[in-house]
């Protein structure tokens, strides 16, 4: 928006051949201050829209968490706090280098600015690499969003809980008439996924902690005794009855993926923008007089950081 005016309009170039109108100042602005103020104002308004966009997901999160705390607790156990915390640190540092890059641009420190932007870009790369590791682990364990949620891991976990709490699940299953009717046909289609095992710290990627059947504070262990056992969807098909928590653990992972994927998308967009200003900075387009693009990209990057600051405790530290 504050790029050099490229319009083919010969007419307006002629009209605007002011000696005091710098090349980077768009034709419709009178002063650099006006241009910079406009740009920042537009950016902040846009950041407001970003906040509201994430607001929708935060709303879904808040309502589900309030209504199904147990399910969220079960789900979050499968997220790696360590990776989450490392990612937070990576983003914070890249945010710092970005802020420093803006300062460098303001002070005409061109090579420092380029270096800092490169570091920020690397920070973004690091974040995405870690996210990829986490995502891969989730998908491997059938903990993807929506149709990719087959949840053998969670069923096993609940199974373990059920065993410690007694064998109520079987009694329960027999008690439900619907189960008997659907049993044989569904059991036939049951297709246990071989190779998916109970998550343990050895088998799982870093931080896929094997949750010992530890109940969260105020968590009623017996409530989980009826979860039964089974594999993924077929668990439901085979048992006919289910509990709130299993279904909502599925929703937890949907919300988790929704939030982190939208955030990840913003990281990618931010990285592309950083690359863009990095190249322009290398060409020496910015100066103490004109550095609005660096400033704006910085604002965007900080917003990405800001959102992660909230996502981290909400998703990883329930």
């Amino acid at each position: 928006m504050s790029q050099v005016e490229l319009s083919p309009a010969q007419a307006h170039d002629a009209e605007n051949a002011h000696h005091d109108h710098p090349e980077w100042l768009a034709h419709h602005f009178d002063t650099p201050d006006q241009q910079n103020t406009s740009a920042k104002m537009g950016m902040w308004a846009f950041l407001g829209t970003e906040i509201l966009m994430f607001g929708g997901l935060f709303c879904a999160y808040a309502i589900w968490r309030a209504n199904h705390y147990d399910a969220f607790w079960i789900g979050h156990v499968y997220l790696s706090t360590a990776w989450g915390a490392i990612n937070t640190v990576v983003l914070l540092i890249s945010s710092f280098t970005m802020a420093w890059a803006v300062r460098a641009a303001q002070l005409n420190q061109r090579s420092l600015c380029v270096g800092l932007l490169a570091l920020t870009f690397l920070g973004g790369c690091g974040f995405m690499v870690i996210k990829t590791i986490e995502y891969t682990g989730k998908f491997e364990h059938g903990l993807g969003p929506g149709i990719w949620y087959t949840a053998p891991a969670i069923s096993k976990q609940l199974d373990a809980m059920a065993e410690t709490a007694g064998t109520a699940s079987h009694a329960d299953a027999e008690a439900a008439p619907a189960t008997e009717a659907s049993g044989p046909a569904a059991a036939e289609s049951a297709n246990p996924v071989p190779g998916t095992s109970l998550p343990s710290s050895a088998a799982a990627p870093m931080g896929m902690v094997a949750p010992a059947p530890v109940a969260p504070v105020g968590h009623d262990m017996a409530a989980h005794s009826a979860h039964g056992h089974g594999e993924g969807h077929n668990y439901y098909a085979a048992h006919g009855h289910t509990t709130e928590d299993l279904v909502t653990a599925r929703t937890f992972f949907s919300i988790y993926f929704g939030m982190t994927a939208l955030h990840g998308l913003h990281v990618l967009v931010g990285m592309a923008l950083i690359l863009w200003v990095l190249l322009r900075a290398r060409r020496g387009e910015f100066s103490a007089e004109f550095n609005t693009p660096v400033d704006l990209v910085g604002l965007y990057w900080h917003l990405v950081d800001l959102i992660w600051i909230f996502l981290f405790p909400l998703l990883y530290l329930i």
């Binding site: 002063t31 201050d33 910079n36 103020t37 920042k40 104002m41 902040w44 950041l47 407001g48 829209t49 906040i51 509201l52 607001g55 935060f58 709303c59 808040a62 309502i63 309030a66 209504n67 706090t81 915390a85 914070l92 945010s95 710092f96 802020a99 420093w100 300062r103 303001q106 002070l107 149709i147 439900a176 008439p177 619907a178 009717a181 659907s182 046909a185 569904a186 289609s189 297709n191 105020g218 993924g232 969807h233 439901y236 098909a237 009855h241 289910t242 709130e244 279904v247 103490a288 007089e289 910085g298 604002l299 900080h302 950081d305 800001l306 600051i309 909230f310 981290f312 405790p313 530290l317």
Partner: protein, 175 residues
């Protein structure tokens, strides 16, 4: 933290007709980073090691808000920005709060209604898989293991006021 040197830098900018910009001193930026890292450690520590139940969320959110405020004020220069930009941000936050709180308020009001239904109709998950099938063609049904024939039913089940039993009217089907 001292602001003296950035004022000098700032003044230098002005001579060239520079837009009104604020240069944040490096020491301030680094200080903020350190604070942010400490707060991150704190949030992990409180969540993992201390058990205050519901209050854990409150503590985590207070820390997150503190971190966010630091980022906005210093990294994003909000301290030195025009009033409009702050208003834009605050308005956005107010409307997010409004949106979440009113939706949540309503949701909590009718949640009992949903729970009663779920207690009385526990077979809703297969139902979902079949409804996928309706839209996404039969192969998806096979893939997800949904089995239409398995649907048991007593469609004419008497209406029980309490709906305590599971064999109620809503047997799985694709609607």
């Amino acid at each position: 933290m001292s602001h003296s040197n950035e004022h000098a830098e700032h003044a230098a900018g002005h001579d060239h007709g520079e837009a009104h910009q604020h240069v944040v001193p490096l020491s301030l930026l680094s200080g903020i980073l350190v604070l942010l890292l400490i707060l991150t450690g704190l949030t992990v520590f409180t969540a993992r090691e201390l058990h205050f139940g519901e209050w854990n969320l409150v503590i985590a959110m207070i820390i997150a808000c503190a971190k966010g405020t630091l980022v906005v004020l210093y990294f994003m220069h909000m301290r030195w920005e025009k009033m409009f930009n702050a208003i834009a941000l605050i308005t956005a936050l107010i409307f997010v709060t409004l949106f979440i709180s009113v939706s949540a308020l309503d949701s909590f009001q009718y949640e009992d209604n949903i729970n009663n239904y779920r207690a009385a109709n526990p077979t809703r998950v297969p139902q979902a898989i079949i409804s996928d099938a309706e839209v996404r063609a039969p192969e998806l049904a096979a893939e997800t293991g949904a089995d239409h024939e398995a649907a048991p039913s007593t469609p004419a089940a008497p209406a029980k006021e309490s709906h305590e039993s599971g064999d109620g009217a809503a047997a799985p089907h694709a609607g």
